[in-house]
Symmetry: C2
């Protein structure tokens, strides 16, 4: 296999667009989520965010990286103003509508209506969920830190509500996001379905791994009745 | 579809192990990377990290969330002591060895040897690459921030070297990590291959999306000769 090697200097000299694609590809697969917010004027907003990541389970924290003054500016200002937002998984049937949410709509445009998705009202927080989504999370803003290195903002929220299709939830708390058809993202614009290789047991030194998934499948307990 | 709804209070009261699986599932698919470091005593270390994420392309920055005093403690202290580390994509053929790296080996154990992977020497930084990996990134530590909410540490590195199989690199800078067989992770222990749905054009209001991937495939230019 021929390998291409890029030095720091070579990376610096890449054309801007090429470098954006190149560097965005390197971290690996990302999550695909629609972030729902509502402005103080009551306009719903929906943004496609591929930078959502797990921060911790206790307390339940989720982070995302946002760049001010870009297409997510309305999302970011709504979060700062209302202190709440929703994260909604993208599955393959809504990928095109989700990607369309990354267009730079004016602040007074409701992206739900513009792309043809539907807003679900939350009884607990003042932010809209995506009705079509199969895994929906309501969050309260916990903190925002500016990353001085590039002036992006790290937004961390605390999970205060979760809606998940009962058939995706296993008895050990694992949510089968593949069964929910949640997609993965690579780079800025590529969407991928997944196919499970396996789930493995907690690794210990000098001990062979056990397959959790095949075992479950054999015992036919991976799909709890609901 | 029956939906299960969890309130903040219900989440708080979940058993610890269940909650860890549950919350870890919710953010969506994650990257699967092996992080290579070397101790000041010259012992190579390799850790499986599913929290690597893109921070920015210019300067080229990558972040990861690490919890001190856990199995990644050696990785974290090596990064702090040497200021450098490598990030290496996991592909399906090395998934089990990669997962085994998440076992709690003693600080004087070289995980490369323990799990049967091979270390490649870097000419530029004092940290080992994974020879088997198809996409390898060398980084210099840029900053570490403690996230006070849960005492995890956000480690941000600047990319100073990239090695990528030439056949995975497209002419617009996109790295075809699916062709490289890079895997995605869900929750703590599930690994997934991917199948591309499509790449889409840059979204604009009132304009239909274009398919980049099918177009490329038809023009047969998505697989540049190298």
């Amino acid at each position: 296999m021929t390998t291409k090697v890029f030095s720091a200097r070579a990376i610096e000299q890449l054309p801007e667009r090429y470098r954006a694609n190149f560097i965005n590809s390197l971290s690996g697969f990302k999550s695909a989520n629609l972030v729902g917010t509502r402005s103080i004027n009551g306009v719903n907003n929906l943004a496609l965010i591929s930078s959502v990541f797990h921060v911790g389970a206790n307390p339940p924290l989720v982070g995302m990286i946002m760049r001010p003054h870009t297409v997510v500016r309305d999302t970011l200002s709504n979060i700062k103003e209302t202190g709440v937002y929703t994260i909604n998984h993208v599955h393959s049937a809504i990928v095109e509508k989700a990607h369309q949410c990354s267009a730079r709509y004016a602040a007074n445009v409701d992206e739900f209506k513009a792309v043809g998705l539907h807003a679900d009202i939350s009884s607990t927080i003042n932010a809209p969920f995506v009705a079509e989504s199969r895994i929906k999370i309501g969050l309260e803003l916990a903190q925002i830190n500016v990353i001085e290195l590039n002036q992006t903002e790290l937004v961390i929220g605390r999970i205060v509500e979760v809606s998940v299709g009962a058939s995706f939830l296993l008895d050990d708390g694992y949510v089968d996001i593949e069964k929910a058809d949640s997609v993965a993202v690579s780079c800025l614009d590529s969407y991928h379905r997944t196919e499970r290789i396996d789930r493995y047991s907690y690794a210990k030194p000098e001990q062979a791994l056990d397959s959790i998934w095949k075992k479950r499948t054999m015992e036919n307990t991976h799909d709890p009745k609901s």
